[in-house]
Amino acid sequence: MAMSNIIPLFVAISLLGAFIISIIGKRLKWLPDLIGSLTTLILLVLSLITVRIVATQGILVYNVGSWKLPIGIVLVLDGLTVFMLVTVNLIAFFVSIYSINYMERFTSKWKFYTLFLLMMAGMNGVVVTGDMFNLFVFLEIASVASYALVAFGTERHELEAAFKYTVMSTVGTLFILLGIVFLYSYTSTLNMADMANVLAQKGMSNIVVMVSILFIVGFGLKAALVPFHAWLPDAHPSAPAPISAMLSGVLIKSLGIYTLCRVFYNVIGINSSLSLVLMVLGTLSMVIGVFLAIGQWDFKRLLAYHSISQIGYVILGIGLGTPLGIIGGLFHLFNHSVFKALLFLNSGAVEYATGTRDLQKMGGLMTKMPITGTTTLIASMSIAGIPPFNGFWSKLIIIIAAVQANRLGYAFWAVLASILTLASFMKVMKYAFFGELRNKWSEVMEVPFFMKIAMVILALICVVGGVLFISNINEIFLKPASDVLLEGTKYADIVFKGIQ
């Protein structure tokens, strides 16, 4: 069998896991944990294998059902896809390990794992597909699963948040669908590579501008960029902690940022005005997100606002369009996935032990929960950009790239947002983990084993994350991803020539 047969497995294995759990997980209580962790482990291993495949063989193109390129659906495995697959499946594996203990507090764990794996199938599908409408379908699978997961606790505020999320996200999806409809009527094809070819021949026209605006609104809503961010601070804190980690860690990136990059760089083709829009939206998110975060007292809500702010960094880096900027943006995307997932898992651990998310009610938990406290400290320093943790390196690269591109204003705002991030995480550490232990927390225990192990390994990745920028690892992991974006609309030729 050809090597490219690995590509559809990313969707097929997660769907298989999901439906096996839903069909027999109700009766066998131990089964959902096992299949959930096993499926995500297999996906993680497969995604690490793809790094090697792309490094040695180049881009792989897979024809689903052996229908040839412009007619059938193609799946494409290139540098950017591999990068996203590793990010998504890495976080998903640790989240599913964490859920083994954490989700004990909820009823019907099997429903949780079914929805979780469906969301995985959607995210992996969005990342591997090379077909515009297929992308929309997978986007919907991931989104619909996430609506249900946000409402998983079925308390009043959770249902309210899920409803708000559903309505806003559906509006975003409709914008995307409308954009795809216009593109299809203009180019008469749905294949991304073919579409890029046709658009290059026909040149810019008003309909392409219209489609760009629709996509910025639609995908921007999925990515929670600032004018479209209102759903995120409600939805992310309301979900169970592992799902908050997934949503903030990878969902907004694979459904929002990856799609934005893919469509604007590889299909429509980036130009200076689009790049300006991305940079302005990125900077707005960066600054407004952090200003809104700093006044929050709900631990998870504060983290949710920081997600908006950090997404701003990624978009700013990618919007700069310079090689260094794109590498910085993608590097920050990976780092943010790791430390934000870790922070949400930490907040879940604190909630698991104490039952509260209010920072003002905590205090001195470091003595009672040393592992949670230490990992939170590491993640906080990463997100605030303290050397030598991974967040520092990626922010540094983005700021250097902005200065190099002579965008000093944007660099200034990036530095300012970073300082404010540091301030708000000093607040978290002071109120939650340092200071005096209150009497009512004297009975608090450290969280169970699987939760600890997931947090510790993610913290280790935060510490050594800077290594990714060392030339060897950079060559096979980050650079191919940024090369895909730099190639721009040459993507079409590469896909048409790719190994089939």
């Binding site: 047969n5 839903s22 689903v64 059902g65």
Partner: protein, 150 residues
């Protein structure tokens, strides 16, 4: 009249439903099986199959309908439909490609033709029929429980 007939709508509706519900189900199955050679297919047929059960529930009340298709059976069919569909797609690997149409295509416009497409239609109809009825049941049951609380 037996006790189960106390619930639901009036006698006229019940009699008409009793006469038509079988035909509706049969029509749904017809649409599914002829999906590859005429209009419709797994989704449309599945919706019609679900409607036949919805019709039963509207006319006779939920107990009768849920006796015909219990909740556990519904969740089984939903998962089984998806698994069959995925299984067919994975079997395509026997010919080297995911979703490959590996069965002989046969003569066009015959009932037994088009390879895996009729099988996919059946899987989809299971998923859609059971799923849509499950959604309806959930909406109805939630309302019942809410009314009980009032």
């Amino acid at each position: 009249m037996s006790k189960e007939h106390d619930k639901g709508m009036t006698l006229i509706v019940k009699v008409i439903t009793r006469l038509t519900v079988g035909l509706i189900l049969l029509y749904g199955i017809y649409i599914v099986l002829h999906g590859h050679i005429s209009h419709g297919g797994g989704f449309a047929g599945g919706v019609i199959i679900a409607l036949s059960f919805v019709n039963l529930m509207l006319a006779y009340g939920r107990d009768v309908a849920l006796k015909k298709l219990p909740k556990s059976a519904m969740s089984f069919f939903v998962s089984a439909g998806a698994l069959i569909f995925l299984g067919i797609a994975l079997l395509g690997f026997s010919g080297g490609y995911f979703f490959l149409n590996f069965i002989s295509k046969g003569e066009p416009f015959r009932l037994f033709s088009a390879g895996i497409i009729p099988l996919c239609n059946i899987a989809i109809s299971l998923k859609v029929g059971a799923g849509l009825f499950a959604i309806f049941v959930v909406l109805v049951l939630l309302k019942f429980e809410w009314e009980k609380k009032e």
